[in-house]
Symmetry: D3
Subunit: 331 residues, 6 copies
């Protein structure tokens, strides 16, 4: 299965060793984003994966391209235009101190100002089997919304699978009528989607699905309505002051949940993308639901133990830890 | 409320990443000290804060000054004389391995050799509302003891509040008659103090208060004797191999204790100063005791999660974690 | 003399040790800009200096503020609004390889979107003796142009000196009619200015002063027209494959030039600002022209030997090297 | 007691801060190996210790020598020949992610190609009281096996104690007849040994000792057969998702076990060597079994909290933590 | 034109900031080698380039692969087998102190032990237009010699261009009869080659061409004999204690030399490969000789100013500096 | 020949990459001092060398000891007492910006407060052939002066050679009568000395030798008076803005000078000690004067190209560069 993702490449800047930005003038530079993270992880898993985005036409665009190539992502579908890349600063938390993310201008980035005319979506659809679209594109700018909708339609037209994640944050959509507007956008893209990542909260708060019957019934009705193959997500809990995570996965008939896993977080950001990459692997390989959800959850657990957003796990590594959860040294 | 602190600026030198001094030749340089830590934290909290000290009249003095300015501390009350700054090496502990601090010559530092004639204490008292004096000044050298006493008297004379912390270490005062001498020094300064940080151990072992009645009674009698407004401190305990901390705070009528908080320590040094800054904030804002002690304790908990001695927390951050203790990501 | 500068604070990001951006993921973070550089240098020289700008209302704004404070710049005139700071990446050159600067979005920065209503210019004018305005403000955005003009007028109205530098880059103004438009803007601000930094190229290409008579005559006519006290700039040449610099300085009657100095460049950026700070020092101190221009040129020479844009020289250091140009060790 | 160890010096290369090799191009370089680790630890404990090995006759050999000297190991018994040093890359694990070790060519290292003719074993035996031989020498190459057997015989002939550790990994010995061959090699060296480090697994799987009677009986029979003074090892367990370790130690009559200790691992590699160094210290000092095993186990616990393979603990530090297990700051 | 190179990938380990290996335990890790350098540079120049080699089948092989991908080199022709990669340590020189390179075992590397059966040379020849073979392969091991000869023959058979560089070091071939043997090997491969990099020294000392007539004649006779299209190389000289370089380039009729260029060396290694990449670019583009040799020489000059072996120059950058040699800042 | 040196070990702290102390909080830690530098260089040259000093009895003393051991210096003659080590901060210069050294308290260091009773000088004299004493000991404190005189006498009594360097700085001896006092001290120690490092300035300004006759005559008279075997030093000059150095060396009959060598300084400090180590090598090996002075001068030239004070050159390296001054790469 050949994968492509449509989404923004962001520059992540983080101080070393849990330092705050006012404690050092050293920063670590990484190129990241939902699409980057998932495609990089799938490339690590051995799949052909591409990114569909617009990068700045300058040194930063070149450097971002070489970073993507290093992750094993194909760079043939990249475009280069304009001069700005979105960025964020991540001050890594420790103990009770939360990780603090500060975004810099994303709306005027090369990606943010590019609508569907900046891309060759027909080619994207023709050359790939499954295309991932991040929900953030629907709320970022008019241009990215336009591009996301167009790509979803082109992909569906070409008979390819569309994978979509809600990635909806109510706190970012508090303007009057914004929620209603966003609801429409999500309702417009969902009919083209085969795989969806989300939560019951997304169904209730954004799509305003009525809360009748069990959670399972609500999800199956939603999947029915939009003819969705797989719906997946995670739940985070705390037990004995240890943070934990559990994955869930529905097809139209069944539901599977993973074991509840302890989280030991070196870097919390990007773990959701590792979960998505794990689910897509099970989808590509036709694994049973339960095998898929266990793999995806352990992949997300391991992503917590790796610096940066990009989950550099391998299939072999995930299987090794699933089989032997106490292993602490491999020679 | 305008704050000033009298105390030594020390140069802290620490190897990176939990390395020992014989494992690397890289060191991190920080400027620190009880006064620096509390004033920096209060500046972060939005208060006007100054440091009253003597720095070396050379490059290190200039560098220390710019470090203080970076923390937001006012530098107008600094003096520059002599050529030596006290320093210490901190090898950060991990797990069962304790943090190891090695002091270098403090007695001959620019601060250590300066008595009250090196300062304009009248100006200090005139321009500030609350003046913090660290108990270490009483035992460091004859000159610093002289300066501390003079400053306490000047401040009281000008009708300003004096805040004092015991910071007494019996192990450093084992010479014959040293304890008796130190007792006299503490008894001499306490009548000028409105806020005192200490422990029952300080009252029993140093001031040799008789152990009659409950701990509360002992503390209230001590406060009565010296007309102290607030007396505060912390207790460290261990539960299920997790380290914990609890703050306490007395006014002349009431006692409040904070919730017992888990400690996850990135850097253990300086957390007591964060507690003090939290208490002073409550004092400045006329917060109720219990609100103050919860704020101060959480501030100390967060200070454990920040590298270096200087607690770079903000009020907003402390409130956020108090309200939502499981938060691990802020965007 | 109390100085203030109006201008953008930019985030500079540079890889260490002459590495390219694709060779490392370590970056050094510095806060810089013409105003920052000159005010920082004047603060190092012992003057009271302030920055007038809008910083983002987030962690980056706070970190920028503490960086300015560290340089000794007063932070009372800073405003905080919006969420973006302009940034640039500097890949340091070596030998024949030029330094390569890549700018990120400056137009939508907190500074870029703020017009005069974001500032209290009356206060700025009231509290300072000399106000520096960078020519870049005239071409950056409509808002910054508005702010620059307003400030120049307010300062002149209050009887304060305005210092202005052309900082004009023809290559950035190639749109049709842009040059004519820019000429108007410069002509509009010059009547308020007492000190101007520029080159004959600026007079010829931008202001389109007719090329009659000698260079000296052209400059004196220009100064006459706008009632300018001092006009200053530098010339860069090459001799025997060694790069060199010479400063010039005019008052209404005389011209002085410095010795031609070799340049050994550790970091080329920001040296012009060191020159400006040197000239302003001579202006503040009423030094003779020739003494001023020698001081300013050597200050610029030393700025080439210091990492980053901000010239951290001291007066004493400049005098020492002027007196003893072969000194290579100070103990 | 004067100690010497025979064994390979390896170059360890590790990325900083839990990064993976594809996330950085910074590496930390350390010189390590079972012999290095034990001798370095004994030198830290105040004993005279030497390493017997062949290092490359080039810059790496010199650098390795100076690294050994830094640990306090005597370098008089080193030889220099050939041009290759064995190396390994250690990607430090975190949480559920295991540490990953990748070995580079060891068979052709200066040590790997050197048989007994490269050494002056007579001198080694004459000048030392106890000689440590690592079991890896028996399986590395024909040359190292030859050297190990010869040294054991020379030492025994000179009346000196030989200390041997099994260090046997079945997974590395899966070729047909390899196990039988290795069994012979171990049986050949054991008669010369006074102290042996191993596990019941080594006795059962490698030496194929029949499993009759209790574990204690099996061990005592084994010790009897080869006239072994002390047999020691550790067991790793997990309780409540905390990793733990317990040491055991037998002489011909008694058995002692240590308290079960929690492990907080900064760097897992090398802790077994710290245990061995602790046991040898008890042997040298004629400490009772139980005191020895407690000391050795705590030494291993502390070695887990120190970066790198080399346990840089001191006797004083081990005693301090044994007495006061909750200590977290030493000034 | 599609390029491929056959050659070893080596791990380069260098201490930072001109430090010696005994002064730090930090190392910078780079993946390099003649083939890597040339293909990376050609990829930077916009060409399709591949590497043909065997990498270890372990973490180091994966990391090397991602490093190549980052340079833009296609990784489809890589094989993975065995477990060792050749490496070298480079202590960067400064002033009169020469750069010091220490090689580690290359003979037993994955590349060193692989003969032609490890590759699909038919595919390599089919998919590329020009194949570069480094002369080191002829002397490294029997296996690499076999592979090099086979590839040259396959490429020629498929009608593709072979590019070969002598890279001959007499000092490494001092065994009796080694020179005669090497002469045979070079004579065996040259008939398949269209482009050759070398020096007159190679012709005289290795091929033992008789020294009759001028240098030009000697070279043209050599080119005639083996039907070589282009022969190119560089000469290093010193003038006024400045190091300099000049390139030369012959086709069968003409000779061109570049301007003599000053060398300012940040990192001396790999500059020859930049020269080769420049020449191949001229060959691919059918540039005139003189244009080609100027481009190639300036490319080599710039390669001296870039850390590491891999020349990360771009065409645009080379042209910019050729046109404007004094440029020191690009914005 | 076995060497020992008596002198202070200092902690040198330097920011990386030519940064100023206010630009970074990273420091590099090195242990240095005249005695350390010379003994380390002699150890690198293959000689048995020891340091005679008092180090603090704490972690810093241990770390200093391991640093000395790493240089190959024997640590048997070290003592440990008190708790302070002298330190200095070195901000590395660049171009016209001089290196700036800031000393911290040296008078109260463990070395500074130790007189002859802290040492076993008899043992020092018995076990070594040549003992180096640095002139700084004569002016540091009463205690170090006492120790230096005692050691010189003990060494002479035991028939061992004493080597002494003036290291006199008039600027540090400006108190009234200080010069006369220092003159006495130097006159008191010189009769015990066989080798002296100094300048004609030392003879004229400190010893107040009358300026009659040529410089050579003055030096020979001085040598005659104190029965000195060898007198040596260097002269620094500038030609064409390149810094240069020339060494000179006298025995009682002859004078030799080295070639004038260009200096390319990475780190200027410690080069004089490299010169001294070179001279002592010639003395130990009975080399002719001219061979010795050339070796010593080139050793000093190379020391300028090595970070830190400690000259980590080898004999082989010095000879290589003497023979082949243009060599820039050794493989």
């Amino acid at each position: 299965m050949k994968f492509a993702a449509f989404g923004e490449v962001m520059l992540r800047l983080s101080p070393p060793e849990y330092l705050l930005l006012d404690q050092t003038n050293e920063l670590r530079m990484d190129y990241t984003g939902t699409g980057v993270n998932i495609m990089a992880n799938l490339a690590q898993f051995g799949y052909d994966s591409s990114l569909v985005t617009v990068l700045p036409e300058n040194r930063l665009g070149q450097v971002a391209k070489s970073a993507l190539a290093k992750y094993g992502i194909k760079t043939e579908l990249l475009s280069f235009a304009h001069h700005h890349i979105g960025s964020y600063f991540a001050e890594n938390g420790y103990g009770q101190r939360p990780t603090h993310v500060t975004y810099q201008n994303r709306h005027h980035s090369s990606f943010g100002v590019s609508d569907h005319t900046a891309y060759n979506f027909e080619k994207v659809a023709a050359e790939n089997d499954l295309i991932h679209i991040c929900g953030i594109s629907l709320s970022l700018t008019d241009a990215t919304r336009d591009a996301a909708h167009t790509l979803a339609q082109e992909a569906a037209k070409a008979g390819k699978k569309v994978c979509f994640d809600f990635n909806f944050r109510p706190s970012l959509n508090t303007e009057p009528n914004k929620l209603a507007f966003m609801k429409e956008q999500y309702e417009k893209i969902l009919p083209y989607c085969a795989i969806v990542f989300g939560s019951t909260r997304d169904l209730l708060d954004l799509l305003q699905v009525p809360k009748t019957g069990s959670e399972d019934e609500m999800i199956w009705q939603f999947m029915e309505k939009y003819a969705i193959d797989w719906f997946a997500g995670t739940r985070r809990t705390t037990a004995d002051s240890r943070k934990q995570m559990q994955g869930f996965l529905y097809n139209r008939k069944e539901r599977a949940v993973s074991a509840v896993r302890d989280l030991v977080a070196l870097d919390r950001i990007g773990a959701g993308d590792a979960y998505a990459a794990g689910i897509l692997t099970g989808y590509a390989e036709n694994w049973p639901l339960v095998e898929t959800v266990e793999f995806a959850t352990m992949n997300a657990v391991l992503a917590h133990t790796i610096h940066g957003d990009v989950p550099l796990t391998t299939k072999e590594q995930v299987f090794t830890v699933l089989k032997n959860p106490e292993i602490d040294l491999i020679r």
